[in-house]
Assembly symmetry: C2
Homo-oligomer: 527 residues x 2
Amino acid sequence: MAGQQRDTSRDGLRNKIEGFVLSGLQPLWKFINETPWLARIANGLIINNAVLKAPTRPLPLSTQAPTTNWSTLTDRSWFARYLPPAPQDKLPPVAEVASLFKLRPDRPPTLSDRSTLLFPSFAQWFTDGFLMTDKDRRRTRTNHQIDLSQVYGLTPSVTAVLRRRSEAPGEKGRLKSIRTATGEWAPLLYDASGARDPAFALVPEPINLSADWPVEQRASMFAFGGERANSTAFTAAVNTLFLREHNRLCGLIERDNPGWDDERVFQTARNITIVLLIKVVVEEYINHISPYWMNLLADPTPAYAAKWNRENWIPVEFNLLYRWHSLVPTHARWGAATVELAGLRIDNRPLLQDGLVTAFAGASETRAWRIGLFNTAPMLELVEAASIQQGRDNQLARYNDYRAIMQYPRVTRFEQINGDPLVVSELRRIYGDVDQIEYFTGLFAEELPPRSAVPPLIGRMVAADAFSHALTNPLLSPKVFNTATFTAAGLAVIAGTTTLAELLARNDTVPAGTRISMETEGYQSVA
Amino acid sequence: MAGQQRDTSRDGLRNKIEGFVLSGLQPLWKFINETPWLARIANGLIINNAVLKAPTRPLPLSTQAPTTNWSTLTDRSWFARYLPPAPQDKLPPVAEVASLFKLRPDRPPTLSDRSTLLFPSFAQWFTDGFLMTDKDRRRTRTNHQIDLSQVYGLTPSVTAVLRRRSEAPGEKGRLKSIRTATGEWAPLLYDASGARDPAFALVPEPINLSADWPVEQRASMFAFGGERANSTAFTAAVNTLFLREHNRLCGLIERDNPGWDDERVFQTARNITIVLLIKVVVEEYINHISPYWMNLLADPTPAYAAKWNRENWIPVEFNLLYRWHSLVPTHARWGAATVELAGLRIDNRPLLQDGLVTAFAGASETRAWRIGLFNTAPMLELVEAASIQQGRDNQLARYNDYRAIMQYPRVTRFEQINGDPLVVSELRRIYGDVDQIEYFTGLFAEELPPRSAVPPLIGRMVAADAFSHALTNPLLSPKVFNTATFTAAGLAVIAGTTTLAELLARNDTVPAGTRISMETEGYQSVA
């Protein structure tokens, strides 16, 4: 799309060298990827380097107050923040900024040459597990952990009602589920008349399920731990996959440990399933995002002695950078058909009818749109405006301030952000001065480099937080990551799992030749 | 007291060498203490060595369950634990074990040759800020932090009612207080008729304040953030001292920053006051406990890159080892008189009448009893029995198991624990086998080595937890320990404060020659 060359004079020398080494030299990286001991060393160095691009925890500020106090250091119902509050008074109207995200009548949506719809679907489902914004957009209900709360619920009381709780052989440790012709599913949250099942009174109401939602669609909602897991047939499919894997693992654990009770089988299966998610996040999802040839590994040992191994606390900036709405297409493949994505919102009937493989294969056959300005589908325009507003409610500093704190030189010309003349002219028209560009806009205005699923600043911040978030999970810590926590069989399952495709293959019947991937066909993410 | 030599064959070679180097070679340590750059290096090495004697966090287990699950890794309303649950069925009756702690008719109480009553009084007040056992003795309400909750309350709502909240110059940031002829005090919680002041409805009821407590004594209770801060005139005195220091610091901050509002002055004063507590804890209190000649420093930098810098989580074993009831004498100096300590319980009238200096000087003139068996005053016998019971409720492993995990060889003979024939014969009579001695009993049965305020296993566990607890406080972290958090004046106050005596001197009129110390006169704790 870029009609002109972007001005790269403010990319930074170190950044350029790192890009050259890590996104070039493919034969070297191929050799490293194929040499386990070397791969572990390179992996540790790259992860350390990536995390140290961002300020490490504990951060002195939260959204609670503009200066450091005991609450900003301890009260995690507020978001952490990387930079102190900045004045918001000279900013253009939100509606005008939001216009930067809308599709233009004069150009068709740009497709990603790298990502399928499975990428944003997984990202949405995954981040809904820990990025939760309250009505007061400065606060959150998250526990700041990767704990599969989408499946297990945010609190022990929700977990309790989702469990089968049976000591009968073949039932121990299981999550409640139903079986249909298309396989195993979470129980339904409403009956055919649209009445809620009282057994699931504690389960959160699906978000955006309006009171006048058609009763047949309401009746297809699953009793999921996460309030957003029913959002689309694709998020529901990922959630179902992890539910099936949990129950499958229970069978494995029960077989090896016939004396164990329901509680021990459940907890062990949960321990394993959470770590399986982390494996997929690092080894499939992050490798897809990363423009490097290195095959990044979910090896927790680089975190053990790292200065960045400090308690998780989601920064509000991290919450905002994950608004990848421009990736979401208007249409998707579903079996032999192409359907409107809006028709798969808050409606699990197609999923229940056609099964998990149809959802995963359809998402894998659908190209995502390319992340960036002027590329958000009409149904998501309001969400972009809300994100801009959230940045202002939290008095975020400017894009250039975040470049600086993330070790990119400040830009001095609009042409350093993007080579697309439309992006340049519209940014100039709306902001006037590059130093006025706000954080959220700048994130998405950046030009997508080759081999990148997301623009550079987003990529840097996602990597820093993802590694320091995922690899510091208590389940991966030195005294916990062992057979006592997972069993030997569980550790073997963890070691042998990298992709959603592998998880799907052991939890459904996948026809030969079916492609399940976050990457477009022919794309090569690692050397 | 020891009639025979203790058998030291199971002390461990490394432990003996460390003891020789650190508790001997006084001239060397004197030189190190007087050479700042060397002292900082030695301090870092000693602190690291001390912390790494105990298993570091995250611990895989809490008191919630016998095996690792997501709750044992995240739900901090249970205590952490160093060792998994062990069978309790072969243990002698609690009453019989409790008899090991009681004073014997045939021998007088043993006095400490090292500690004054200020030592256990400060320890009690300090640990009441974070060691809280619920009715279910496996659970806790603590937030696991050193945050001066004794002064500020455990929750923001309690803090709010304790604050004056005034924007008037000279009043900004202050905690509510009253002034009498003897100085500044926290407000009273009850009126003269014994009715509770409704303004303090959210303030916790003082623990052990029975319904039939005399109304004059009830009327002397302070509105303190901590439920145990009114326990004795001495704990109330320490709490008052920190309240006065907070309000004094507000004046300092207000003077330097006339534009700041009540909130900012309050928060900055609290930030400083919490760190002052940590300074006193490490530089006065821990140096008193430590048998080393090294003058230990509250320098947080050894924690910055340490593998043990992980989120605090109080182990139940740490909670239990702090039951230093045998240190508490039956009588104390109070002005010119010697009074029964029981008479200073839950009654602040003498303190209000005679002032802070009388309390601190009295505690400093009173020798503590020596920690150990057969030395607990009758009024505290029931508390010892409750501690033994708490160990059993939590199914703690045996004393020898804790020796092993804390890097002491297991003992094989009773004579290796203590050289006192009575201790040996009574342990043998009650437990039969050294491997049966339970954790709580073993802690206090150990012989007190020279230059030690507490026995070896307690000392080791206190040091490991104290450093990894105090120095990982978020206020001391790299991005927070700076002038933005404390102001330059605040940092200077922090740097210049080491002892309770210094705090007292700036918050009351201390007559010349008055000795305020945790150490008996003539005792030398550092080289």
